[in-house]
Structure formats: C-alpha cells, structure tokens
Amino acid sequence: MSRPERGGVVVVGGGVAGATAALAISRHGLPVTLVDEQPQAGGQIYRAPTPYARRHVPPNHEFSGGDRLRALLAASSVRTRFSTRVWGAWGASPGMELDLLGPDGIDRIGARALVVANGATERFLPFPGWTDPRVIGLAGASILMRNGGTLPGRRVVVAGAGPLLFSVAHQVMELGGRVVAVIDSGRRGDWLRLAATLAWDPARLRLAAQWMTRLRLAGIPIHHQARIAAVHPEEDGLSITISGTIAGTVAGTGRQGTPVRHYGADSVACGHGLKPATLLTRTLGARHRFDAAGGYWEPETDPSGRTSRTGLYATGDAAGIRGAAVARLRGLITGHAVALDQGAIAERDFASLTRRPRMLLRRQEHVSRRMLPLLNASASLSRAIADDAIVCRCERVEAAALRAAVAAGARDLNQLKAWTRCGMGPCQGRMCEDGARGLLAASCGLPPEEAGSFTPRMPFFPLPLAALTGTFAYSDIPLPKAAPL
C-alpha cells in the first residue's frame, strides 16, 4: 500500500453517467481519474461488445453510442483505470480515499472530490429453483446477448418486472432464439397507462411499441400479474411453474395464487427491476432515503448530485434508477457542478452550461419516475415467497428460516442477518437483501424502510488475502506491545 495519490477528482463507474461526468470535469481543466471494473468504459448500456458480438448482433444505437463515448474518453485528458475494482472507501477529511484492486494488485487513491456513478444492481425475488445456473438475471442475460452475442438458451422464459422484460425478449428473438413466454408481475393496465406517459418521450415509446408488436406477431404468450412459482430441473431443460397473480395477497387475504401453467425451457431470464448500488455512498456516510416508488434506498442528492457529504457526489442510476438518457444528463450536470465546487468555473458559467440539460432532464425525469413502480413489484410478491425458496444463495438460507427468525423477534435486516446468516456471504447481501427485506416487512406489517439495510462492510467483494499481505518477512510485521498480563 503505497502513499495514496492525492488531489484529483475521482469518478467511480465508467458507464454513461460516470464517463460523461469525467469528460465534463476534464474539460474544465481539473485532473480526473475514472475507475471501472470493466476492461473498457461503457457501463451496462454502452458496454463494449466482444468482436464476436459485433459480427452477430445487428448494429444498434447502443454500440455506436458506446463507441463514441470511448473515443471521446481516449481523446480527453481523463486518466482511466480499467479492470480495477474499489474494495474499500474511507472518509479522510478533507477528501476521501479509495482502496483499489487492479491488474497490478492493490493500490489506494485519494480524491479531493468523488463522483459515485456505479450504476444499478439487479433485484431478484426468490422462488424455489432460482439458484439453478440456468436461471439468470435479466440484466445478465442482456449483457450475454448484446455484448457477447450469445443466447442464454434456445428456448427462454422471460420473467419478472419492468421494461427490461420486453427488451430481453426482443433480444432473444433478435439472436434467433425462441421466447417461450413472458411472465410479468405487473398489470396490463400499468403498461397502457405508461404508454400515455411515454408520449413525453417519443423515442422510448417507439421502441416499446416495436418490441410489443413483435412479440404479439410472433404469438408469444404474455402473462400479466403472474409470477414464477417454481423452477425444476429436468433432463432436457427446466420445467417452470407459473402461478396466477398475487392479487389475493395484495389485497391482504394471504391467499397465494394457484398454479396456472407449466412451461419447458432451456433457461429462465428473470429479474425484478433495478436498485442503485449504494455500498460506496453508504460506507462514506452520505444520508440515504427510501424511495417508496422504486422500493429501494438511494443517496439523498440535490439536482446536481451533491450528497449530504461535502465532496461526495452520486449521479446516474447510482442516485436513483432513471435509465440511460437521464444518466447522461445527470452525469453532465454533476461534472459541471464538481467544476463549480472546485472553483474551476463560476456560478454564471454553471448556469448557462446546464440550462439546456436541466430542461431536458426535467422532461425525462417525469417519464422515468412514472416507470419506477413498474420496476418494483417486490412489495406484493414478498408475501408469496415459498418457505422452501432459498433467499440467500451464498449461505443457503431458506425463506422458512427467515420467517422463523422474524417470529423470534427479528425486526431489522441486521438482526435477521446475525440470526440466520442471510447476507453474510460473499455477495454481501446484494442478491438477497430485497427478498429478505420484503419478507421481513410483509411478515410483521412493517414499512420496508424500517427493515433497514445490511450494514456495508469492507472489502466490497472477496479480496485475495495475498494481495493485501504482499511479500514480507516476519521481522517486517510491526508487533505492538503485548496485552496486559
């Protein structure tokens, strides 16, 4: 661990928000370093495709948008550190310090200002069988197809909530796969209402209409207000039981939907929307709030992305899920705000530079916020989580064990964690927190925000011990004074 570099601005996350912010900051003459765990910039939407994918996936605006972003970065003075993950963060006033693990081992970087643009995490609600390797996340499936040019299977069931459902279904078809069925936990009416809102955003409306028409023309069954009750492995694939809606449980009757259908498929792509990745902002002590519409915690920010902690910014989906177009605008505004706060530009310049983006943002925000509830079916589904469903896959904790802990008096997620090991594994609760929170809240009638969230701990991902220890001799270890006799 060498002495940390000091002084510059650091942006964590090279997606559209982070890269745009870094570019804006560098344009104002401030030294800025962009850190991303991927080998190239682009994030989720603009992730660099493999050469194979470039040949096999029909050209699309996301490839070209990503290429443009990468070209701009290459031509800029932004210092990039790719294939590098942040595993720890410290508030070292003034400024902050980040611990990194990169191609050359561990390192530490100091930041005068830190922009957190690490995007979103996929949300899962568990059902028996979801831990089968052939069940993958919607976002994961999308990356596999779009950036890898590979289908998750020939026959795919697409399930969960939100617009990603239809995007993924569309991608499966685009690559020549078969969509067996689309299982949507939302109502059909929700989509129709959304169409009205989308009139504000004609580009998105056009895209959505295209996807829907294509699914309909292909005669693919779409079940609304439905969920996967269970997935069973079979010799030649998966057998998937679809359950009727959770309407009964929503109304508070506690009745679970009855199985209505079975499908066979090679794989299931499923997910229940996205949530901001808040490990960094929480570790650094920014204030967070629970967004009821989105069903997740997000850092409290002002319109420019300033958090409650001086010098710490959150932007793009890391500050609340709004999608790629908003992420770019937010990143741009945050970049200018950093320049303003660092004294590189005057208040007047900031106002004129951000006038148009702020106007566009207001329009887009309106649409994006309307979409949030569609991404958030968790509250109504949590009650339906089967007792034998594994909720925490790292520690293999089933829903029944969580319900027993709640019955024994656990009332917040950290207590639940201590009593069951749920969330104690390598993923640090990223996969199970939403299921556990929903289940806890549903079991004792608490609002989900009172269930809290798992306390973040370092390292943010499993870290090779040898990377931390390096080469050393016994005599190098500073042994403090012996404990009292």
């Binding site: 720890g88 410290w90 009593w419």
Partner: protein
C-alpha cells in the same frame, strides 16, 4: 418509527441497562431468581461487542487473575443448552500460543507460568508437538504454549438464544431505548430511568449498568468518575475454505487469534486497532494494521495465503485504568451496580453475569478485586434525598 411499547405499571425490581453478554446474563439470572426485571438497550440485543467479537474461548489471552472465571465461563458456553436453553455452537478445541523469536519464547514462558499458577493447564511444548496438534503451522515455530481448554463460538449466534431465554424467564425486553439519564426517585426510593422517546421514565428499585464501552458516562450518573478506555478491535473473516486448521492459535504477545469455524470460514483477530468514535458511532480500519494482522496470520498458517478475505469489521471493547473488571455496587444503599470492562469478557461473561445476579439476590460471591469503588471510594453523587 413505530410507537415504542410503554413501560410496565409500577416499578420493576431491577432495570438492567445494556443488552450485551454482561447485562443479558445478569438479567436472566435475576429473573430466574424471582425478580421483576427490565432489560434496556439502545439497539437490539448483542449488537455491540457481544455480537461482533472473535468468539475465542481463551485462557491464553485472558488476564491471569481472571483465569478461574474464564474457565467457568467457558464451561457454561459449552453447556449452553443446560442453562440458556439452546446450543449456541460453542466448540472445545486445543489452544496454541506460538513463539517465533527468542524474545517471544521468553515472553511465552513467562506468560504461561503466570497463567499456570492461576489455574490454567498451560504447558510449553516443542515445535514437533505443536505441529502434531496443528499440522498447518509454519515450521519455523520455536516453541508453543499448549492449553487443552480452549475453544470457540460463533458470537453472532448467541443473541438469538438469549432473546428466547430472556423472554421465557419473564425479562421485559426493551430494545431501541437509549437511556439518557438515571436519577434518584426521592418519593419511591428507587430510580427514574429516562429514555429518548419516552416522556415518562421507567421506575426501578435497582439499577444494573452494563453499557460496555459506553459505561463512563453512565457511571457519572452515580457520581463515579472512572475513565474507560475504548479499544477498537479489528477482525477479518475469510470465505469458507477447506479445513486449514483445527485449533485456536495465537502468538506470545497475544496479538493474534486464529481459528476455523464449523462452516469453514477462518476468523483472524488479535486486537489490532482501528479507529472509532463511541459518541458519534462509526469505525474505520487502519490499513497498516489490517495488513499487519493478515501478515501475521499468513505467517502462522501459511495456507491462508490462498484465502479470500470476505469481511473486515471493528468492535469496541472497554478497559479500566488497571485493566481489571468493574463488577459490584455503586452506592452505599446497595441498589445500583455495574458490570463491565472484563478482559476477554465474552469467555467469562456468562459466569460474571451469574455472579453479579447472585450478589444482587443476596449472596456473597467474592467480587472484591472488581469493586468499582477502588477508583472513586466516595462518589460525589447525590444519594437519595430523604
């Protein structure tokens, strides 16, 4: 916040402040002794030191004068089903403390001798014997202190067993109650316990302070000015690994504790310090200390070089100026008590709590060495106003 459950009518016999191992055990045995007990904590039970500690049941690292208590406490943990009503996963294991240099060997022998005199069955054994007990050890060990009576316990599991036992014993549990002041209640002859979020105080005839590292301020309520030092101890845990060790390993100066739990994860500790603030909360790893701790662990059990570190966390431990516990009465009227600052207190916690309960119930266990009045013989506090 949901509305806080209200206090019981009338006064309780004892209000115990602090739901760690010290307070919870005291409350449990007081209730079993027939008293009406309320247990208050500003958060949930066992979330401070008692829920995040390394769970080593250790005689090597316990202060020599506390060895008899630690041996009793260890026995209680191993038999938790009998008195707590649930098996908390305590395992007996041999304990080894190692020396790699000549100076360490001298220290090892001195410490072992003193502990042996205090009743711990600790012997110095040659490297070959240490390697036979723990095949994963670095062969450069010069000498080892061996104790058959060591062990470990996954600390995070203990809180749930206590919650159940306390409820069964009839202890009234009030979580999320931060006690802000305790004042003599002239009229009733007891105390008024004031909590954040409650207009009305809880009335209690007796008080037990068991606030761990937060004791200093609480002692002030009773006129005792005892500086309590806060140790910010660091722990690291690995991913689950195939078996790499079966014993509990430390080094001569006490700055390592290493063991593998039943689930395969290895816990690395030893009291390396981080930063923390008991008033504002929040802790911070000192990276050089993390590295030192991990290097020491890897030196001692070389196969840990293949481990992945899953988590690092810090916990707060309290210490008095003479590093000896505070257990006993705080007032001349014998109606307020303290329990805390016990070195390796998780090991002896159940026994210490039982002793204090016995004392409050009218027994006369020997707590002389722990008397809080050794620091402030005549507290400046308002005794009860007549």
């Amino acid at each position: 916040m949901t509305a806080l459950q209200d206090w019981p009518d009338g006064s309780v016999d004892v209000a115990v402040i602090g739901g760690g191992v010290m307070g919870a055990t005291t409350a449990l045995f007081l209730a079993r002794g027939g008293m009406r007990v309320a247990l208050l904590d500003r958060q949930d039970l066992f979330r401070a030191a008692s829920g995040v500690n390394a769970g080593t049941l250790t005689l090597h690292m316990t202060r020599a004068q506390l060895i008899p208590h630690a041996m009793r406490g260890r026995e209680m943990w191993l038999a938790s089903r009998d008195w707590l009503g649930a098996d908390v996963g305590a395992l007996a294991a041999p304990g080894l403390s190692l020396a790699f240099t000549e100076a360490e060997e001298d220290l090892l022998r001195a410490r072992a001798r003193i502990r042996r005199q205090a009743g711990a069955p600790i012997d110095i054994v040659p490297p070959s014997r240490a390697a036979a007990i723990e095949p994963g050890l670095n062969p450069s060990v010069r000498a080892a202190a061996y104790c058959a009576l060591d062990g470990h316990i996954p600390a995070y599991r203990v809180g749930r067993a206590y919650a159940q036992a306390l409820a069964q014993a009839g202890v009234m549990l009030f979580a999320h109650r931060a006690v802000e002041a305790i004042v003599p209640d002239g009229a009733a002859g007891g105390y008024a316990v004031h909590c954040a979020g409650h207009a009305r105080p809880l009335a209690a005839r007796r008080i037990v302070l068991a606030g761990g590292v937060w004791l200093e301020k609480m002692l002030g309520w009773f006129g005792h000015a005892i500086p309590i030092r806060c140790l910010v101890n660091q722990l690291a845990v690995t991913e689950t690994m195939p078996r790499v060790m079966g014993s509990v390993v430390s080094i001569a100066n006490g700055l390592l504790s290493l063991k593998q739990f039943a689930n395969g994860s290895v816990l690395i500790g030893g009291g390396w310090q981080g930063e923390g603030n008991i008033h504002e909360g929040g802790t911070r790893v000192i990276p050089e200390n993390l590295r030192g701790n991990l290097r020491l662990a890897q030196h001692v059990v070389p196969r840990l070089a293949q481990a992945q570190i899953l988590r690092v966390w810090l916990g707060l431990e309290s210490e008095t100026p003479d590093a000896m516990p505070l257990i006993g009465a705080l007032t001349a009227r014998d109606d307020a008590f303290v329990i805390g600052c016990v070195h390796s207190g998780f090991t002896s916690g159940p026994y210490m709590g039982r002793l204090l309960a016995e004392r409050i119930l009218g027994g006369a266990p020997d707590l002389g060495a722990f008397d809080p009045r050794r620091f402030s013989p005549s507290p400046s506090l308002p005794e009860h106003t007549p």
